[in-house]
Every structure is written in C-alpha cells, then in structure tokens.
Amino acid sequence: MHRKKKTVAMLLAGGQGSRLGVLTAEKAKPAVTYGGKYRIIDFPLSNCTFSGIDTVGVLTQYLPLELNTYIGTGSPWDLDTMTGGAYVLPPFSGGGESGEWYSGTANAIYQNMGFIEQFDPDFLLVLSGDHIYKMNYKWMITAHQEKGADATIAVIPVDLSEASRFGIMNTDEDMRIIEFEEKPEHPKNNLASMGVYLFSWKVIRKHLIEDAENPASDNDFGKNIIPAMLAAGEKLYAYEFGGYWKDVGTIQSLWEANMELLTDSPPINLYDEPWRIFSRNPNVPPHVVDADARVKGSLICEGCEIFGTVENSVLSTGVIVEKGATVCDSIVMADTRICEDARVDMAIIDEEAVIGKGAVIGKANDPGQEEKEIAVIGRGVEVAPGDKVLPGTEVRHDS
C-alpha cells in the first residue's frame, strides 16, 4: 500500500519531437542532449525533486528504450525514496481489453488513473519533457490553493508577434482563464502555456473519464480537456512564471538554447547550488587539452580530448577533436570523434558519429556567408574523409 501523496506528477515523455529531425530518429525528444551533459528530461525531474514532489510517473511511448534506461529507478534525481520514485509508465493492455497506445496527452493520464489513485493525491501535476526551465512547483501549488482553483496553468509572457506559435490564455484581472486558444492566428494576449498543468485530482478525474467516453475527442489536454473544463464553469487560473523557459523543439531553438549557455551570463543559472540540475553522471576522467589545442568560449564535458581548435561550441562527454580539426559554433554530442583537419561550423552532431579526416561540415563549406542554416549529423553517422555536408542538410545513419 502506498502512502498518501499531496501531489503526484505525471511527465509526458512520449513526444516524438519530429521537428528535431534526425536527432529524434532513435530516441524520444526528452532524451535529447542539452548543455553538454544534460538531457531535456533532467530539468522537469530535477524541478520535481526540488519542489518536494517525489512521486513522478513518466509516460513513454515513442522509442522509449533509451529513456527507460536513462530514468531507471530515478536515483540520479534522488527520486528513489522509500515511498516515492520515478515510475516509467509505458502503454499497457488492461484487464480484458486490448492494449492501446496513448491516443493523446489526456488519454495517457486516463490510462494510468490506477497508478495515480494508489497515492490518493490532492493534486495532479502534468508536465512535459520538452522544455528547459527551473521552476518551483510548490509556489504554483500554493497559488492554486489560495485561489481555490480547479486547475492552474503555468504561463509565460511571450512577444505578441510570436504568440500565434503557442497555446494562449486569455484571462481576467484576477488571472482567471476565460478563454484558451491553441495557436491563434490573431492572439488577444501574450500569455503562453508552458505545458505545466496543476489540477485538483477529484475535478480532473471526472473530466478525464468524460473525455474518454467521448468518441469525438482527440483526448488532448489543450484541445479537449481545458475547453471542456472552461465550458463546465470550473475555476481555471493562469500562473505567471517569471524565469527562463525555452522550448527546444526545433533544431534552431536547440542550437540557440545551447549557444545561450556560452555567453558571459547565461539566462539560466546552472551553477545554482541549492537547485542543481541532476543528471546521470558518467564515469570518465576529466577532459584533456593538448599542447597544440585552442579552446575558447566553449562548454566542455568530462572525457573529452582536444588536440584541435574548439570555439563557441558545446562538447558532450567523451568527444575527441583530433589535431588540426576545428569545431566552431556547434554542438557535438557524446563520444563523437572529429578526425584530423576536419572543419565543423554551425552544426549539431549527434552521439557516436565520426567526422572523417578533412571532412567539411556546415558553414565551413562557405565561410563568407553571414546567415546559414544548421547542418545536422545523426547518431552513429560516419562522414567519409574529405566529404562535404552542406548547411541545412541532415545526414542519417542508414542501417
């Protein structure tokens, strides 16, 4: 028997992240690397730990293997407590019924109601594994209780010009949500949903069941549940978040978010002592910089060996940059090798790739150009010596 929990978090980690192209060809988006040593999912998981939420269900569906292995018992995030834990919840086939994939975000929660009920929670926190942010959910829960809300949705002000890319909350002066518009053409407001929802369990439970019984529904929180709650007159409030929040759902935004870490004072503080972003830490020696190497304006992880030049780049664990090779304005993920005299500029190179001797990747093909699109090399790809990969192209591992 589980102990009662005030709040149970459910992390939607099933997103395919198709706009990340080849980077999510073999893994789900929350497992994508950010900032050298982190995975996107480290952020919501660490947030849970620091917000005192120790019971986290992680809903996986799309290519879950890597994510399941990564999460394990949740010990890297200190979630392997006596009564809590990180629970990986894949779609399953229930008593007598045929197995079902999660048809939508709300359906994923609906199918795991049994899991949630074990803890008899007061609140259900629904998170997504797609964003980089540090947030204390405790404050949001306090706001929810103070307002006597049925649902509280975290929002962040965005530029009105960009508002049409987001789910926008139209609120009254008291921040009560009067209307929700998913990617409106003509936004009336600039408060965008962060994909962080807090519900009173009893209320959302009822709506999840009603939604599941409606065959016309897409079983999606934004599209169906929130409008249905509004229509039923439930009390929905927006909770404004003032910190850094970044959707890293596209190649461009992932690249930008990494580059922001290289500035003198990055918009997100990863050095915050009481609010460490936890991660699985590899067992490798510190990185080595050779006598002829040159490293500037970069973030370098343990296990790297640098013999060439690295500028304005983020290198994950165990990356090798051989003699004469240059890496500039790029992101190189774990255990990739950049061979002698290869030139990499404006590129994202996934794990375990090999950039052959003298190969030229991205903007390095045409250094004169000002604006260039990012070249992306998939996991395990071997670029042949001397080959060229032009800006904006994507190379996939064909096997």
Partner: protein
C-alpha cells in the same frame, strides 16, 4: 574471478613526506587526477575483479574518506549482503586505537576476517596508483601453489627512490619466488618494488596475523612477510602498466601530471577497467573568450578566463581573468583571482588567491597552500 575473494584496503598508511596534503586527510582520501581520490584506484580494481566485499581499514583523519565513500554505492558496493565495510579503530584494553603496524590494524579487524565467507583475501594499500584486475594474479597464485603472492613493479636500476618513504623492495628469483625483502633501502640492487598488494587465503592470513601478534610483532613487511620467507611460498607477480607512488609532494605532483600522457591515461582509465568515484552533479567546464589552455587536465564546473598551461584543475576551480597558472595543481573549489600568477604551486581545496598575487615554487619543492587558505 576464478576464486571467491574479498578485499581489504589498508587506508591508514603514514607518508609524512606528503606534508600539508595529509594534515587533514588520510592518504587514501588524497585528491588525484582532477576528480578522483587515491582510494578510487584500489577500490575500483577490486570491484572490477568481481570482488563484492571490501573492508577499508582506517586509523585517523578518516572523515573525508568516509564522506567520499558513503555507502559505497558509487562502486556498486551498497549491497544487501557483502558490500563496503569501514573498519575503524576499535579502542580496547590491548589496543588504544593507534596502530603499531598493519598487522595490529588487521588484528583489530579480525572479526571482519573471521566472519566473511570468502576464501581468498586481496590486500591493497592506497599509496600506489595503478589500474588492473586481479584475475591474472589470482590464476598465478593458484597455478604456483603460493601461500602469498605479492604484486610488484619493475623499476629501472638507479630509479629506486631514496629516503624514508615506506618503500618495499622484493628479491624475486627467476622462478618468481620472493627470497628477500628490503624496506627503505639506502642503496639496493633490487628492482622489484612492492605495490603493497597481496593475495592470500583467508585462513592463512588469520593464522599469520595471530602468530605475528602473539610474538609482539606488528608490521606486515618487516615481520609477517620477512619472518616467513622460508616457511611459506611467497611469490611475486609483476604488474606491467603504469604505477604512481604517493611518496612525497613532488611525487604527488608528478602523478597528477602523468595523467596528461595519453599512454598513462589509457593504462589507468581504459574502458575495461573503469575507475569509479563519487560523482557530483557538476556543470561542464566553461571557457570564456579570454581562456588560453594548453596541456592540461580540466574537471567539470571549472570556469576559465585566464591562461592555464601544464596544469591539473579539479572541479569547480575559477581561473580569473588575466591570471596565469603554470605547472600547478589546483584542487576543487579554489579561486585564482584576476591577474594572479602561479607556478609550481599546489592549491589544496577551497583556497582563494587574491587578485594580482604571485606564487612561485620549484619542481622539487612546489608551494603547497593549505585547504581553505586566503593568500
């Protein structure tokens, strides 16, 4: 491993030549190679040899060692049965808690030795830094019908260090039998330096400890081994990879620098013998535009805004703008202020160097700044 074994690490060695570095910690807790502590090497060697039960004998200043080892989880030694056992001094009538030698320390841990159900004991110290698995040595031990097998390293003739360093040299015959032992020899022709790691049957070890102790003899090499050279079959097994011996401050300096050598790194950190340590959730190292780093080993969470050449930087070291660090070792959490210059310096943990200061030591006598000092 081909035989069921448990491990004992003697973490209470006294090496006075390490000066300030061991004032506040035992040698086993000495930070090494940017993110490790000395004990990570013997401990990982054992774990990588499928040893699942390890006792660590400590005697004084073991606070930082306990903090480092915790429950042994990082070495996969936090288990329901077996695992990590910290064998602290147990003051009793005949033993006030200060050991007169390794034998007395082992004797005070005799309950651990008696209780364990494993057949063989692998003994190791913490002052020799090397990486191996004990499988081959165990096979050698069994094949030769040895009572005790000693691990040693060949050092070039003339390279035997002089002075009171607790160095043990073995006279190993062609057949591999240990015929003689010299401790801190003034000058010697022996080239087999003991790595202070042994394989011995548990019951033999218990007998030898009791036997030694009953005669009022407390030292492992001087008494337990040397007295039994003819009575027992003591064999020598050579380790061919890199060995660093923590015998003095310059040696400590060199071992850290050796890790910049790709061959040494391969021999110490190869993927089939990983060295485990207490990991921290630290941010990757950050280089600003002003950074200029050559020939250095840099741990996570360092922020580098200055010049670093031929240095080892442990975790969370801040190299201020315009500062110059050369031939130095900077332990975790230290801050080198703007424009400061360091050469042949070892900064212990959490040291602050004020902006513009200049500290210069020599290769044979590096300046050592104590933990937490402001200079």
């Amino acid at each position: 491993m081909i035989r069921d074994a448990f491990g004992i690490i003697y973490a209470a060695e006294e090496v006075p030549n390490l000066r300030e570095l061991i004032d506040l910690r035992t040698i086993a807790a000495l930070p090494i190679g940017g993110k490790y502590r000395a004990i990570d090497f013997p401990l990982s060697n054992m774990v990588n040899s499928d040893i699942r039960s390890v006792g660590v004998i400590v005697s004084r200043n073991y606070n930082s060692l306990m903090d480092h080892l915790g429950s042994g989880k990082e070495w996969d030694l936090s288990r329901k049965s077996d695992g990590l056992f910290i064998l602290t001094p147990f003051a009793r009538r005949e033993n006030p808690g200060v050991y007169r030698g390794e034998v007395e320390a082992l004797r005070s841990s005799i309950d651990f030795l008696r209780k364990t159900r494993h057949e063989y004991c692998v003994l190791a110290g913490a002052s020799s830094i090397f990486s191996l698995t004990y499988d081959e040595m165990m096979r050698f031990h069994i094949d030769n019908g040895a009572d005790i097998t000693a691990l040693y390293q060949r050092v070039p003739s003339g390279d035997q260090a002089e002075g009171q360093n607790n160095e043990v040299f073995l006279d190993v015959s062609k057949e591999g039998r240990v015929q003689g032992i010299e401790i801190d020899p003034v000058s010697t022709t022996l080239t087999a330096r003991s790595l202070k790691s042994y394989i011995v049957r548990r019951d033999t070890l218990i007998y030898l400890i009791d036997d030694c102790y009953s005669k009022g003899e407390y030292r492992f090499h001087e008494n337990l081994l040397r007295n039994n050279l003819s009575r027992l079959k003591i064999m020598g097994f050579e380790h061919k990879g890199y060995v660093g011996v923590l015998r003095s401050v310059p040696a400590y300096f060199d071992i850290n620098m050796d890790m910049l050598d790709p061959t040494v790194r391969e021999e110490l950190f190869s993927s089939n013998n990983l060295i485990y340590t207490k990991t921290k959730d630290s941010v990757p190292a950050k280089y600003t535009q002003a950074a200029d780093v050559k020939q250095s080993l840099i741990a996570n969470e360092c922020i580098i805004e200055g010049t670093v050449e031929n240095a080892v930087l442990f975790r969370n070291v801040h190299v201020g703008h315009g500062s110059k660090i050369k031939n130095s070792i900077i332990l975790a959490g230290s801050v080198v202020g703007e424009g400061a210059e360091l050469e042949y310096v070892i900064l212990d943990k959490d040291v602050s160097i004020r902006p513009g200061s200049r500290l210069v030591g020599t290769r044979n006598y590096p300046v050592v700044i104590r933990k937490g000092a402001m200079v």
